[in-house]
Amino acid sequence: MTEMSGADMVVQALVDLGVDTVFGYPGGAVLPIYDALYKHPTIKHILVRHEQAATHAAEGYARSTGKPGVVLVTSGPGATNAVTGITDALMDSIPMIVLTGQVPTTLIGTDAFQECDTVGITRHCTKHNYLVMDPDRLGPILHEAFHIATHGRPGPVVIDIPKNVQVATGTYSVPEIIQHASYRPQIEPDAGAIAAAIDMIAAAERPVFYTGGGVINAGPGASAALRQLVSLTGAPITSTLMGLGAFPADDPKWLGMLGMHGTYESNMAMNRADLIIAVGARFDDRVTGRLDAFAPEAKKIHIDIDRSSINKIVPVDLAIAGDAGRALDALVAAWADKGHKARDYGEWWRRIDGWRAARCLDFPEKKDAAAEIMPQRAVRALFDATRGRDPIITTEVGQHQMWAAQHFGFSAPNRWLTSGGLGTMGYGFPAAVGAQIGNPNRLVVCIAGEASLQMNIQEMGTAAQYRLPVKIFILNNEWMGMVRQWQELTYESRYSNSYSDSLPDFVKLAEAYGWTGLRIDTLGELEDGIQAMLDTPGPVIVDCRVAKLANCFPMIPSGAAHTDMILQPSDVTGTMDDEAKALV
């Protein structure tokens, strides 16, 4: 037990919790904490240029290192600017602690300067939140918040700390073991359910593993167990956007991503499977397509740490609540215990090979040096050029994100950072900043669209200040491409406000911030341009001009079944009925 100020408690608790990095922006209501951080020997504070970027940087840091991200912002606008990133972390289950300053307790409720109801505003976009009214409660709350953010299904936790609570003194001590009074997520899966799952897997003729971000969140051990289980059973595997990297993309059992912009073979396999083993995935609408046509022939096993995700959208035959890693370990062990052997799925693989023969990710392109670059080609060239360097890839949101998911092959977890659930334009670049801070010696590339990038482009200053060698690879087609694609699909190509007008000169912008700027205009320049980006030390922005009107296929239109994929641009009819128009 030590008597200290609330601000000192915050810093001491961060040290005790093993935090080495805080992303933040100072302001009146957090000045005491900033003073406590001043010249702190172990905690590095990364000064961003906008609080939203602090939250995305913390997400990038968390997703790439497996450690929780920590954010420190002031009251009022500091807190409200952080809301988008907090919501993003909730949707994608990213462990994050957001410390917000608040006006002194004596002024709460008076509409004081820079006051907002942070706890009220963030109530529905946090896993949990606190308003600390008593400095003696600060220490226990900080430790409990980290526990909640990182246990069970991870998520963001906000701690709102009034300025007088930061100044007042109280007692601080490190709690021994945190045992929350009510929050006790089930970690260990039920042994009986595991045994039942093994029997279902062994009996299946057309099984598919459908895995998601929960496998990544469960740690690298979960990905290793998944590989083992897939190898033992011999069954094919697909994954959500958030789950990419848990299983290597060059393995023959890999079907590619599933869902709206997933591969034909993965979606057809889901549709025709007789057993789906969902692990850490939540049957999102982008994955299921039309629900009444989703996997009609399949029994479903659902492993998820969040009990409320089970039977939320798709009723399942066997529910297993628990940590994905523990469940996969248990399945591997049970498979061996029961003496099962990999089945001959010959007929199933022959059908899958038939769907693979559609070569759904192929795209038309001209091959001469002066030809325009197809965006898919640019992603593949980046993938080829960075093989063996084990890069961390972040994306913004839109067509480029889907092309990256389709054409960049991931072979390990925690290398793919993207905003899946919330779909936040402006996520990718600050996430790359956070990932680079957490992995100073790794290659970090943000695959961006020219529109999304501009949503947090001010972070070029942050990267310059901390000499972060992040690379931004812009697929510049001068359009909010996914918006335009939907307008072509649904609104007879009435391009309402989807053109990226008045773009900056990205090369000059790079120079203005002390970065290196490169432009790639033609196919002939692509490989050398990418190599130049990789060879240039420090931060680099590459303005890669790509085919302006290319669209992202294959695609399951909203409300369509897995079997109704659009494979080619020529399949687009240009309009939809109102029911389809109303879907997201």
Partner: protein, 171 residues
């Protein structure tokens, strides 16, 4: 530096609101956002067409804060009327509690005898337990529960306060 809080007085507020989704969340959100206390809160719709709900809130705070609470509530769009029953010379407050007591022998007899003194009704019984229904103001309910603690109290459910002003007039 130490932080001190100001003592307050108890007020019962009767609030008439549109009976629509989200109203209760708006009102409780207002209380948490502005740091006001809620000691109890009850809500039910009160009109034949289910258009209006009456919310009774027991809160406490220094007089300027109570004034502010009333003004803040009154400002909410779905709120029709806010009345501080402390402003009325007399009002009636009632609360119901269901009190489960388990035990045998003397304690069981004593519980029944005290229930009779408090005019609590027995609404369920087994050979080893009673459930009493007690109606009254909060003090009376408090006192009954405190006595039952000595007689094998196992569980309590309380409704919170509903209140109405005396006399012939409506609010």
């Amino acid at each position: 530096m130490k932080i001190t809080t100001e003592a307050g007085e108890r007020h019962v507020l009767a609030v008439t609101v549109d009976n629509e989704a989200g109203v209760l969340a708006k009102i409780t959100g207002l209380f948490t956002a502005r740091g006001y206390n809620i000691e109890s809160l009850t809500v039910a719709d009160i009109t034949a067409d289910h258009a209006l709900s009456r919310i009774t809130i027991v809160t406490s705070g220094p007089p300027p804060i109570i004034d502010q609470i009333i003004a803040q509530l009154d400002r909410l769009v779905p709120v029709h009327k806010v009345v501080d029953l402390a402003d009325h010379e007399a009002h009636v407050e009632r609360e119901i509690a269901l009190v489960k007591v388990a035990g045998t022998g003397d304690k069981r007899i004593e519980a029944l005898r005290m229930a009779d003194v408090f005019r609590a009704k027995v609404v369920d019984t087994t050979l080893t337990s009673f459930i009493f229904e007690i109606t009254g103001n909060s003090d009376k309910v408090d006192r009954f529960i405190a006595l039952m603690r000595e007689c094998g109290l196992v569980e309590v459910g309380r409704t919170g306060v509903v209140a109405i002003a005396r006399g012939a007039e409506a609010l």
